[in-house]
Amino acid sequence: MWDKLLHIDRRLIYALLFAVVLAPFLLQWKQPPQYINPWTQSLYDYIEKLPPGTPVLVSFDFDPAVKPELYPMAMAITRHLHRRNARVIGMTMLPSGVLMVDDVLNQTGEEAGKRRGEDWVNLGYKTGGLAVILGLGENLKRVFPTDAHLASTAPLPVLRGVRNYQDIGLLITISGTGMPGAWIAFAHQRYKVPVAVGTTSVQATDYYVYLRTGQIVGMLNGIAAAAEYEKLIGVPDQAMLGMPGVTACHLLMVLLVIVGNVAYFASRRHREEPTAEPPEPPTGEEV
């Protein structure tokens, strides 16, 4: 029996996972966050203290592959920035992020009654990676002479008085890659601009080292932190909607690990017992 359990068809596991994740949607189960992570709270408090009109550079460094985790985070943060009347300067370090940045900024801008060019702008994408990060420390409009819609950035009211990082109140990188490490090393370390990170849970363990040293002012760790942020700003959206499914799936994972181990050890014990050799008869030499 244990052997059969160990070698169960993997498609049954897939079907079980599918059913477990689907169930909370059908049952309309609610799982609002109970505990707010201190680093999520830290970012929220930092944005709350920003004076109105502060330019905030938000780099949406994610592609559709991690959209379910980072898009809700991007929406929640941008809503908060608009509420604080910050000047939102959006950009991306990934070409596949350009249209998603537009989606986020258009939707949140419309909700908050903010205007493109005056209260927010999407600068789009530029090749060069490191050269872009360093170039923003010298002259933002030189790196981005046009925005994502090919309008000149020179006359834009939202960029008035913004020459480089010295004029930016906060830099937020929302990324599912190693980009935050580059922003921290090249933007914060060299130009001393405060940096905050929103990242997938996979990458988050790599950035905890920067939290304790003060190199980043706050961090959102995955969909759970996105749900916490939605709770803090009082706008429940897709992250909070997804938390029941996350809960169900996590419980299933723990169950699979436990059952897998029980089956393994039981099957090993079962296999060892019949093959146990009888003790050797005494040879008489000990006497």
């Binding site: 050269a131 030189r142 759970a224």
Partner: protein, 207 residues
Amino acid sequence: MRMQAPLAIGFLAGMFFLVQFFVPHQRLKEVYDVLLDWATIIGIFAMVLGLGSLFRTHIDRIRQRRKSWGYSFITLGSFFLMLILGLGWGTEKGSPFQWMFTWVQVPLDSTVFSLLAFFMASAAYRSFRARSVEATILLVAAIIVIIGRIPLGGELSHGYLPRITEWIMIYPTVGAKRAILFGVALGVIATSLRIILGIERSHLGGD
């Protein structure tokens, strides 16, 4: 000359950016700005290079009738369709290009990566075994974090499990990751110095 010139370019570029960090003189800053511009422009051509490889692979596959060669028509056909839509009708909201991105590319990208959840569940069941002390420590830490990060974990433990999870993330995990980071950083610095001094040449494709 074919190797000396690139090595000299690498040395000059590397030394300039290293020295400029410590000497923010106005003239150096002006050259620094120009060179950063150059890097952005050169980056455009690097991206285009990737396309050449894509075309070569699929055209060769069709020409030589290799396995699954018929699907290469789909790759090339969809490439040209999307290119024509983007360059012909623009990328603004409501354009055909944006429609293709929203309803074809995003679902494809997201769904392919969501397959990982299934493979992870299967791997958790089949491979995660507490065979040794180390494996047991790994499993226990994983289970604490898995339960601690969900709202139910907080509810069942009166708020203690999320705090324990956070303590694990902030102290022992950061300690181990920090040690790894030291090693990686030293490696990056050593490799960078080797590249600037021309000792490391693998990025130039060898002699």
